[in-house]
């Protein structure tokens, strides 16, 4: 291949704006976070004391942070698997040629367009133990009114449901696009060979969708780690008894509410490494994913 720019200088010049932005907004803060994680920082940086790996020790040994790790894991696994499975199911249904299919598609995508704050408040009202509509109907039909937000497991369920509801549209859009690009001849051949709809889906459609599934898995996982702040803050504030505190929320709270910037930095580093591992894993596994041509 011929290089587009003969001189490296021109290429570098064109890259410069991006590099400047990356250095100042990404690389430098990342390095600073690493350094900060080795200090006990007071008052957002007014005082500083070197403590070595103490912050990491706290994260890995204190029961509070072990709970947070478990919560994060439960949340990520729960919300990602549910929103991807639902996304795929809805996309397959919305891909059917029925009247008004375009409207169904639009409606499915709608929640994704809502700001997280609005979605959070909607769920807060829905699941209010005393005045929420969910408990109103549960009370009417089954005679039960669970304290959704006061019980750690139920509160986690509500937070997961709300993020799934909000994010499922994203998965629907991408799956729909992938479904519409599937090679029709393969499916047709399978039909002629007498495959049932179920067989066709699991033997042909699903494997053919695997690149998309893979992409969505990564996107959803990253979103689940980083984009849940609004839901947690609005619906549970990390409660009850830290039952819904996930890493991103703990980082915010330690850093900006409790003035423990060093500890927050250590958690950021941990989260950063986690995502690095995930990304590496993605590239390793990607080789096994089937891409058409």
């Amino acid at each position: 291949m011929q290089p587009v720019f003969k001189r490296h200088g021109t290429a570098f010049l064109l890259l410069l704006p991006t590099l400047v932005i990356l250095i100042f907004f990404l690389y430098l803060p990342t390095i600073q976070t690493f350094i900060m994680s080795l200090y006990q920082v007071g008052f957002l940086g007014l005082s500083k004391m070197f403590v070595g790996v103490e912050n990491y020790q706290i994260i890995f040994t204190e029961p509070e942070y072990r709970d947070i790790m478990v919560n994060t894991l439960v949340f990520v696994l729960g919300s990602v698997s549910l929103s991807m499975a639902l996304g795929l199911a809805f996309a397959v249904l919305a891909n059917e040629k029925v009247t008004g299919a375009r409207y169904y598609r639009l409606l499915l995508i709608w929640p994704y367009a809502l700001p997280p704050a609005v979605a959070g408040v909607i769920f807060l009202f829905l699941f209010s133990a005393q005045v929420g509509i969910i408990n109103y109907f549960l009370g009417l039909i089954f005679g039960i009114t669970p304290d959704w937000l006061a019980d750690p497991e139920l509160a986690m369920t509500v937070v997961i449901l709300s993020t799934v509801w909000k994010n499922v549209g994203y998965n629907v859009v991408f799956y729909l696009a992938a479904l519409q690009n599937l090679p029709g001849d393969v499916l047709e051949a399978a039909t002629i060979d007498g495959a049932t709809g179920w067989q066709r889906f699991w033997r042909i459609t699903f494997p053919l969708l695997s690149p998309m599934t893979f992409f969505l898995l990564i996107m959803n996982t990253i979103a689940a780690f980083f984009d849940v702040f609004a839901f947690i803050d609005l619906i549970t504030k990390g409660g009850p008894s830290n039952g819904t505190t996930v890493f991103i929320y703990a980082i915010y709270r330690d850093g900006f509410e409790y003035f423990k910037s060093g500890l927050a930095a250590a958690q950021s580093v941990f989260l950063f490494l986690l995502v690095v591992v995930l990304t590496v894993l993605k590239f390793r596994l990607q080789k096994k994913v089937h891409y058409a041509n």
Partner: protein
């Protein structure tokens, strides 16, 4: 065109000295909603009366956001002159080292009247005998009750419960009579725990609540604390107490009370104006009473809540003088009366209370009376002075975590012991960073 630009510059340059003569005072506060406008109006009035000073108030979000923004601005050398800091941030503000004690700026000729501050308020904001900040918006917790539902349940509408057991008895009656599904609600917030410790005369931290010397031990598993938790849990188990399930959910508690789900509510006096309106709109009669106290304990009164105004370091003497003048004006008798009427926060000066009494304000607005009586009846002991702890925000979360565990069935004593250990560790780490 060129000439025009030159002329414009000339005008600008000439105008600059005139502008520069005004001493600029920036004021960052955390009062949202209607209060933004009220503070703006008050500042405008000050500016009109003092042509050489220009005070610009700016709403910076929550107390926490305001404090964070101020610290960051200070680091960049752009700190506002005045910062509005919540009461439990006081020790943190002292430790941060970016503020100067307000009392040090007062000169002999100033009309400061520092003795005019209401005792309970002065008690809180005097640190080591000195005002580090100017008390501004103050509140304490009161019991609000729905007189209409009280009558329905056959309770005396003029006699609200005063002790823990009386609250249980009243709630049981309200529930049994079908007047309300629940007896009482309050936001699940550590503030109330602090108050119930205070009114039993119990300390929250050693070294006399951190007032005699820096606190080194937090006291979360003391007898008075266990009394509070035992009562709370019983009320929750018997479905007499109700809350939204979310911590620090002030609006959630207000809604439960206004909608008649609960006949009593414990919340801040700063909501009195709001509650009076809500009672009118929802057609019920509102009553207020003292914060209930544990049975068998003398009632020492409540700890002053709210916030105060702090002056930052690093400004010129002229700017500091202007800032001080503004703060004294802003909290003078007339403005205290205005602030109280506009918000419901109680005035922090005795002269303002006298002024309001002269106007028969309390007869016209009986809901305010309980708040005042409670404040005036508060005994100036260490417990009602409130604890000075630099990691208070974290402590509050440790306590609310413990309360929720207890309500969900965990053993009271063991949970509070764990919480105590957690709090002590957090305090130790904090203290290490400021020594």
């Amino acid at each position: 065109m060129k000439r025009f630009v030159v002329a414009l510059f000339a005008v600008l340059i000439m105008a600059t000295p005139a502008l520069a003569e005004k001493t600029k005072v920036s004021f960052w506060h955390a009062m949202g909603g209607d209060r933004i406008t009220l503070i703006k109006e008050m500042c405008d009035d000050f500016n009109k009366a003092h042509p050489d000073i220009e005070v610009t108030p700016e709403y910076k979000g929550s107390y926490r956001d305001t404090l964070n923004a101020s610290i960051l601005a200070f680091k960049q050398g752009k700190a506002p002159n005045i910062v509005h800091i919540f009461e439990v941030g006081s020790q943190l503000a002292v430790d941060a080292g970016i503020f100067m004690p307000f009392e040090d700026t007062i000169k002999p000729g100033d009309d400061a009247k520092l003795d005019d501050f209401v005792d309970g308020v002065a008690n809180y904001y005097r640190i080591g005998g000195k005002f580090y900040s100017v008390p501004f918006n103050s509140s304490n917790p009161v019991l609000y009750y729905n007189k209409t539902l009280f009558k329905k349940a056959g309770l005396d509408p003029e006699n609200p419960p005063k002790t823990f057991n009386e609250v249980i008895a009243a709630s049981e009656k309200l529930k049994a009579s079908g007047a309300a599904p629940y007896g009482i609600t309050w936001p699940l917030h550590c503030w109330f725990v602090e108050q119930w410790m205070g009114n039993q005369g119990a300390l929250l931290a050693n070294n006399e609540n951190g007032r005699a010397a820096r606190a080194t031990d937090i006291l979360l598993d003391s007898e008075p604390m266990l009394k509070i938790m035992t009562w709370w849990k019983k009320m929750y188990d018997d479905k007499l107490f109700v809350y939204s399930g979310k911590v620090e959910d002030w609006d959630g508690a207000n809604n439960l009370f206004i909608s008649g789900q609960a006949a009593m509510l414990i919340t801040s006096t700063s909501d009195i104006t709001f509650m009076q309106k809500a009672a009118e709109e929802n057609h019920f009669e509102l009553g207020t009473g003292f914060l209930p106290v544990a049975d068998g304990s003398e009632n020492f009164g409540t700890i002053v809540g709210g916030a105060s105004l702090w002056m930052t370091k690093g400004h010129s003497d002229k700017a500091n003088d202007a800032t001080k003048d503004f703060l004294l004006w802003f909290t003078n008798t007339a403005n205290e009366v205005r602030w109280h009427k506009g918000t419901g926060y109680f005035p922090v000066r005795k002269s303002a209370v006298t002024e309001l009494e002269k106007e028969n304000w309390f007869e016209k607005n009986p809901a305010y009376a309980a708040a005042f009586k409670q404040l005036m009846a508060t005994k100036p002991v260490r417990s009602t002075q409130g604890a000075m702890l630099g990691m208070f925000p974290e402590l509050r979360n440790i306590v609310t975590d413990a309360v929720q565990s207890i309500l969900n069935g965990a053993d009271i004593k063991a949970t509070m012991k764990d919480a105590d250990a957690r709090a002590d560790k957090a305090l130790e780490r904090y203290n290490r960073s400021v020594k």
